[in-house]
Amino acid sequence: MNAPDPTSAPPLEVHDLTVAYHKKPVLYGIDLTVPSGSLVGIVGPNGAGKSTFIKAIMGLLPLASGWVKIFGKPYRENCRRVGYVPQRETVDWDFPVNVMDVVLMGRYGHLRLGQRPTKHDREIARECLDKVKMLPFANRQIGNLSGGQQQRVFLARALAQESDLYLMDEPFAGVDAATESAMIAILRELRSRGKTLLVVHHDLSSVKDYFDRLILLNMRLVAYGPTEEVFTPETLQKTYGGRLTILSDVAQTLGSQR
């Protein structure tokens, strides 16, 4: 693995990215570059295209126009350097696999077709499970876990990918406060090791606390930059449109934080 090098290409460069479903555009002309070692929040109302943005970066959705570069190369060539936490609802939790099986899936990108996970892979998976405090559950069927535990399993799987850029789609959904703070500590630790993280997030009250940079999205890029510059009532109003109730709620939380 090539170590992250600050002088090399940025972890993520997106140019004029447009995504359309059935010819109806859902994301228009997104342009941004994410520097190495940052913890970036993606914020926007429901249907703003946050998940779409993440999926489009990884080529899970066809692009109508534009391009994406991961450390200076197309995604296909650098997919090993990207870790992914999908939304919890995207999988069937009754699927007959246990926690360890799922975390080991994070190693598949490093294995050849038909190759079984090695002892080394199991060791890594075990460490990652331990990091999210789920090691005692390694042999549990995944359907027997609480929502927060399932979210931690997904995080462990992404950690097992040992990537340099992490894309996380609502990793805190359905997670209790204690687990959320434990998870954010893990994300910060990754950042301190020079990793870059993009996290779709819903709770505006914790945005300032969690992220160095923010991507404010509502079908287009409303604002992008360091959190303290971008997280203002004006940009929030632009992002969340005319929905004044939300805005006033947020203004209140902003006020209470000062």
Binding site: L60, Y84, P96, V97, N98, Y108, G109
Partner: protein, 486 residues
């Protein structure tokens, strides 16, 4: 899992004998059930070994592919595909007007894939969802197949085509070529599933993630669909078009109930498919020229019902037993609580309670109370002499714990959740039985180790519970709006 599948291999190759077919087993029909059963197990009929080997092989490939259909919620896809191949069977026959297994196999596979492609096309280009697309393909292809079949029957020599056997299956009509084909398909399926086990599992579990880590998801998906088509088409002669989907779905569905690991599920599903195939062939043989398909499906259905009832975790019986023991547990704890309360009423000035008193407190008939007390005595929680019941140390401990849980929860609801005092009892009645040690510690901390519940009753402390110390009789409830007389 790999090892188990490899062990199965030598057994399969045996199924391809070189003996020419002397007499079809279907021609033998004038023996009693026992005679026929003996004939079956003595393998006197050369056709029988074909029928048996073929049925077992198709059980394996259908079982393996069916496991994927079940976990991917594509069971209906199997149904649609198996009906859709019918025109292909007819076209394969028309190729050189004979039941050449290879021609039929190729024709049916092509038409089957065409059917699957049509489903995909309808789904992606129209507003229809998968179910409507499957329904359309199933019915229209099947209809076309029936028309072609009828046309063939009307051709000169067509009425001897034996194509009617493709509807409900006739294992006895299988020749060496059919069995060879089944063996190749079963080997292909096992080889692919063993080699690409982790890839197939990931694609089935989380397709988005599979693509994100760079797996060739499309290729994996199509290879699985191709294997599925192979499994269906090669099985037609033995099971028939109408019921082959049952061989895909039923063993896999039974296996899904029996295990929580996908590898085990594949092995179980293939194994049950194999048994089902063998038993289907047996019944069909013994039952005088009966169609094989329905017998296989009946057997598979029996296995499924067995799994449904007896599966260790998801089975009906084990679930019922778990529920019963939970109910038993709750009754036990409620009786211990009643004994505690009876003693508490007298400020623990006495160590015994009468059975009559308890029956009144529980508002139960005397015999029922007696029965439950007897159960508690056997469990070592109480001692009974004549009519007087008293706690053993363990009984005291558990009784205290339940009372503590109940009162802690009431206090928590009233103080932390601001619920009115007269609304909390019902809830606490349920919660008291499920609160774990850790929950209790959290609750006590949250409530600052309060010792009075909202009704002014004393909450037993750890001290009292552990050391069997009775709470002092001096302390009386006061100042809490207690309903107790001052």
């Amino acid at each position: 899992m790999k090892r188990v599948l490899l062990l199965l291999l030598p057994g399969l190759v045996w199924g391809v004998p070189e003996v020419a077919l002397a007499a079809r087993i279907s021609e033998i029909s004038d023996y009693s059930f026992m005679d026929r059963a003996v004939r079956f197990f003595s393998f006197q009929d050369p056709g029988l070994s074909h029928a048996l080997a073929g049925s077992m092989l198709l059980g394996i490939s259908c079982g393996l592919m069916g496991a994927f259909l079940v976990v991917r919620k594509l069971a209906l896809m199997g149904d649609a595909l198996s009906h859709a191949v019918l025109p292909g069977v007819a076209l394969g026959f028309l190729w050189n007007m004979s039941k050449d297994p290879l021609a039929i196999f190729i024709g049916a596979t092509i038409v089957g894939l065409l059917g699957a492609g049509t489903v995909q096309l309808l789904r992606s280009t129209t507003r229809h969802k998968e179910d409507a697309a499957l329904g359309f393909v199933l019915a229209s292809f099947f209809g076309a197949g029936i028309c072609l079949f009828t046309m063939i029957q009307n051709l000169p020599g067509g009425n001897k085509s034996g194509l009617d056997k493709f509807m409900f299956g006739q294992a006895a009509a299988m020749g060496a070529g059919d069995v060879l084909l089944l063996a190749v398909v079963a080997l292909l399926a096992m080889g692919a599933v063993v080699f690409l086990f982790k890839e197939y599992r990931l694609v089935s579990f989380d397709e988005g993630f599979a693509r994100a880590v760079g797996l060739p998801v499309q290729a994996l998906h199509y290879s699985l669909m191709l294997l599925l088509a192979f499994a269906i088409v090669s099985s037609l002669q033995a099971v028939g078009v109408v019921l082959v989907s049952a061989m895909l779905v039923i063993p896999a569905a039974a296996a899904y109930l029996l295990t929580d690991r996908f590898g085990h599920m594949l092995v179980l599903s293939a194994g049950m498919g194999l048994c089902t195939g063998a038993m289907g062939a047996f019944f069909s043989f013994v039952g005088r020229n009966m169609p094989t398909g329905p017998w296989m499906v009946m057997t598979a259905g029996g296995i499924f019902v067995g799994a449904l009832l007896l599966a260790p975790r998801h089975g009906i019986v084990s679930r019922w037993l778990r529920q019963r023991s939970r109910a038993e547990h709750i009754r036990e704890e409620n009786m211990l609580k009643a004994i505690y309360r009876a003693m508490e009423e007298e400020d623990f000035s006495r160590e015994v309670v009468s059975v009559m008193e308890l029956a009144q407190l529980r508002r139960e008939p005397l015999e029922k109370t007696q029965r439950q007390l007897e159960a508690l005595r056997r469990a070592g929680y109480v001692t009974i002499s004549e009519d007087a019941v008293s706690f053993t140390p363990q009984g005291w401990q558990r009784g205290c714990e339940i009372v503590r849980n109940h009162r802690l929860w009431e206090l928590y609801l009233t103080s932390a959740a601001q619920i009115a005092t007269d609304h909390v009892h019902e809830d606490a009645e349920k919660i008291e039985h499920v609160l774990g040690e850790e929950n209790v510690l959290q609750l006590e901390k949250r409530l600052d180790y309060a010792r009075r519940d909202p009704h002014g009753k004393r909450i037993p402390s750890h001290e009292e519970i552990q050391h069997g110390r009775r709470p002092g009789g001096k302390e009386r409830a006061s100042g809490y709006g207690s309903h107790e007389p001052r």
